[in-house]
């Protein structure tokens, strides 16, 4: 699937990324590319072009390949995401328990389709195939996509996505109340 890109790239602050790369303190090889992109995605909530260029320069991997790898994996996005990412599981187990209706309800309430972000950059709606909590389907996970606070200063601890909140056995009727919890924060 083709990924959306930004028409106009904003300027971004790259200090933390530079510091992180320096902190790795080893000779960079191609094996570092994906972990660096993951760090960038986690810090900025997306992959700014300037960050990819920096990675390309530091790893000596041509920009075309950096872009090729980034566009291949679904984890990476070239456009900023909302403050909260809503992941609706449409894996098999959730599917047979009616996750489509849940998704439809969220879409309706937020006025966006999946893969899109609301105009106020509060919510991004994503569909995912299985979050590994199938026993409790349908599953909705809401998390803060921008984790810069927790990871830019220090080394990237693996606790990143733990801020995500899992909601199990979600029905279309429950959606409004759940979303309400994130409307103000």
């Amino acid at each position: 699937m083709k990924k959306e890109t930004l028409k106009l790239e904003p300027n971004v602050e790259l200090n933390s990324l530079e510091k992180y790369i320096k902190g790795l303190n080893h000779h960079l090889s191609t094996a570092d590319l994906i972990p660096l992109l993951q760090y960038t995605q986690d810090s900025f909530g997306y992959l700014p072009r300037q960050a990819m260029e920096l990675i390309s320069k530091q790893t000596r991997i041509p920009m075309s390949r950096v872009f090729g790898v980034a566009s291949f994996y679904t984890q990476f996005s070239f456009v900023p995401k909302g403050k909260f990412t809503i992941k609706v599981c449409v894996g098999t187990a959730c599917h047979v328990r009616g996750s489509e209706k849940v998704k439809a309800r969220i879409s309706e309430l937020l006025g966006i389709k999946d893969g899109k972000t609301t105009a106020d950059y509060r919510f991004t709606l994503e569909l995912v195939a299985c979050l590994g909590t199938c026993a409790l389907g349908p599953i909705v996970v809401i998390g803060s996509s921008k984790k810069a606070e927790s990871c830019c200063g220090g080394p990237m601890k693996q606790t990143l996505a733990l801020g995500d909140k899992f909601y199990g056995q979600v029905s279309p009727e429950k959606v409004q109340e759940i979303l309400g919890r994130y409307a103000k924060e």
Partner: protein, 572 residues
């Protein structure tokens, strides 16, 4: 605690830890799996911890959090020792009662017990709950007993003792022979004999060899590997160390899905703790074996579960498979001999070494030995994680353990093996679960996802669902998979829109056969399976959709699926 320099050091440490744990203190165990956490498991842990503090019971009552205990449907779960009293659907407000009544006075709180579905009577002990009764828990033996974030817990229950046996009494060749004799076959899907794979890697020449644990678990509807990595990562680590010894690997990777943050965290902790104790690193237990492990987080691509694609991904490339041979055992990561094993495969190794090949191979059927963990989900009453001996029938899993179909509906099919698997109808429910029998009825063992489908679900819609999934996940490298899956999806969409043609069924079968035979990797080769098995057993549902709007057709083709088709077309 310092570094362990010899096998004796490890034994001494275990004895010491065992003594510490056998203090007779009552223990409250809260399930910390993601499932129970979703229902507030963590809050209950906190509440219990507060009650213990408030009542000045610290040091008198132990509290711990374990990995997934499997019965996610009934979460959050709380276990009390001694006695193995099993509470389910516990709420925060129950915390003080549990401590006051059960822990201090030994009184059981009836309404927190799990009712027997047949008699309605509450069941006191976990092992007696019907959901657990028919299971044989080997891989999951310590899920629910050890705190996965503490290596001490694992060592105390006998963890890492297979290293003692291997280092003291077995040559690498003997280890491989033991694994081969056990009959263990890969749990990642293909069922390749593990002993044979290890032998290939051992015999391959290379200055360095790698061992990789495949924890990508991309099949939607599967969560076995997740629960093992989250609930007892040390058992997998132990299996990898034994493998590294047998094959001569010096470096290893854990490839874990990014969607599993808790698994990543627990594995990282396990690696750090093992390294600190000298169970990883240089000269392990003074035996001259060097091994270091590192985590690689997946970046969200189903195809990266395929071994050659996984290797490409670790190398920092687009995760696309390549033609085999050469197999990774000969030329894998960075062109070096590489052993790739599934999480569950590796978790079986310590058990085989400890109990012996003979014991292990007495479990299961002729061609499939040991147990298999299944992720039971969908329209079934007791969803969760289930481990049974090979040869158990689907009916036993779904009806005896799973408690039958939810909401009083009827069973229609069991989808087994994920997007590469098939749908098994009622008439084959007595199929014993083993690699060959499942293949005969058009499904595969796969990694162990088992999704129960009830009678309100359209099978054509299920076929479309999987085709949409593989079409989306096809990496696009080979033509048959890229285009074949797309065309099949279009035809299935046509069916569901009521625009199918008579000739479409044959066309679908022809496309399926071609895609199966000519695709590059397992993804394309097995992609037609859901279509083939639904046509085989539920052809009438396709045919009903062909007839112009009869009442049934209109019913099968619900408004819902129509909408989905439209969306699918727009998104595609």
């Amino acid at each position: 605690m310092g570094r362990l320099n010899s096998i004796q050091d490890l034994r001494t440490l275990r004895e010491k830890l065992k003594k510490e744990q056998e203090n007779g203190r009552p223990t409250v165990v809260v399930c910390g799996g993601t499932g129970c956490d979703t229902f507030g498991g963590h809050a209950i842990y906190e509440a219990l911890s507060n009650v213990i503090k408030d009542k000045g019971l610290e040091g008198k009552v132990s509290l711990k959090k374990t990995g997934c205990q499997g019965f996610c449907e009934r979460g959050p779960l709380v276990n009390l020792w001694p006695g193995n009293i099993f509470y389910q659907k516990v709420r925060e407000k129950d915390a003080s009662k549990i401590i006051d009544e059960t822990v201090l006075k030994g009184k059981v709180i009836e309404n927190l017990l799990c009712p027997d579905p047949q008699t309605g009577k509450p069941v006191h002990i976990q092992a007696e709950v019907p959901f657990y009764k028919k299971q044989l828990r080997l891989v999951l033996r310590f899920n629910g007993i050890v705190d996965p974030t503490r290596i001490d817990d694992y060592i105390a229950v006998g963890g890492y003792s297979s290293l003692e046996k291997v280092f003291e009494n077995m040559s690498p060749e003997q280890v491989i022979k033991e694994v081969a004799d056990s009959g263990l076959r890969g749990r990642g899907g293909a069922g390749f004999p593990t002993g044979k794979k290890w032998e290939f890697v051992r015999k391959a020449t290379g200055d360095i060899k790698y061992i990789i644990c495949n924890g990508d678990e991309g099949d939607p509807g599967a969560f076995m590997d997740r629960s093992v990595l989250e609930g007892n990562p040390h058992q997998v680590l132990e299996g990898m160390i034994v493998g590294a010894y047998a094959m001569g690997c010096r470096k290893g990777y854990f490839y874990v899905r990014a969607e599993y943050p808790m698994a990543v965290e627990h594995v990282q902790k396990a690696i750090d703790q093992a390294r600190e104790l000298g169970l990883l690193g240089q000269d392990i237990l003074g035996r001259g074996l060097d091994l270091d492990l590192e985590i690689k987080k997946g970046a969200g691509a189903f195809v990266c579960g395929e071994e050659t694609a996984l290797i490409a991904s670790i190398e920092g490339k687009r995760g696309m498979p390549r033609i085999r041979p050469p197999y990774p055992a000969i030329s894998g990561l960075w062109g070096k001999p590489t052993c790739i094993n599934n999480v569950e495969t590796l978790a079986n190794i310590p058990i085989i070494i400890e109990k012996g090949a003979k014991w292990y191979s007495s479990i299961g059927t002729q061609g499939s030995k040991g147990t298999k963990v299944f992720a039971l989900a969908g329209n079934v009453r007791n969803t969760g994680l289930v481990e049974v001996p090979m040869g158990t029938t689907l009916r036993e899993i779904i009806f005896d353990i799973g408690g039958g179909i939810a909401k009083g509906r009827k069973f229609k099919a069991a989808q087994i093996g994920g997007p590469s698997g098939g749908c098994v109808p009622e008439e084959h429910l007595d199929t014993p679960i083993d690699y060959e029998s499942l293949q005969k009825v058009g499904a595969i063992m796969g990694s162990g996802g088992l999704i129960v489908i009830d009678d309100k679900t359209s099978m054509v819609e299920i076929a479309r669902y999987f085709m949409n999934f593989v079409q989306d996940e096809s990496c696009g490298k080979c033509v048959p998979c890229r285009i074949g899956t797309r065309r099949m999806l279009e035809i299935l969409n046509r069916f569901l829109q009521g625009e199918g043609k008579e000739s479409d069924l044959d066309l679908l079968l022809e496309l399926a056969a071609n895609t199966r035979e000519t695709s590059l990797c397992g993804l394309g080769q097995t992609a037609p399976n859901p279509v083939l098995s639904t046509i085989r057993y539920f052809r009438h549902e396709y045919e009903t959709l062909l007839k112009k709007p009869t009442p049934e057709a209109a019913k099968a083709e619900t408004v819902e699926s129509k909408e989905k088709v439209k969306e699918g077309i727009e998104a595609g």
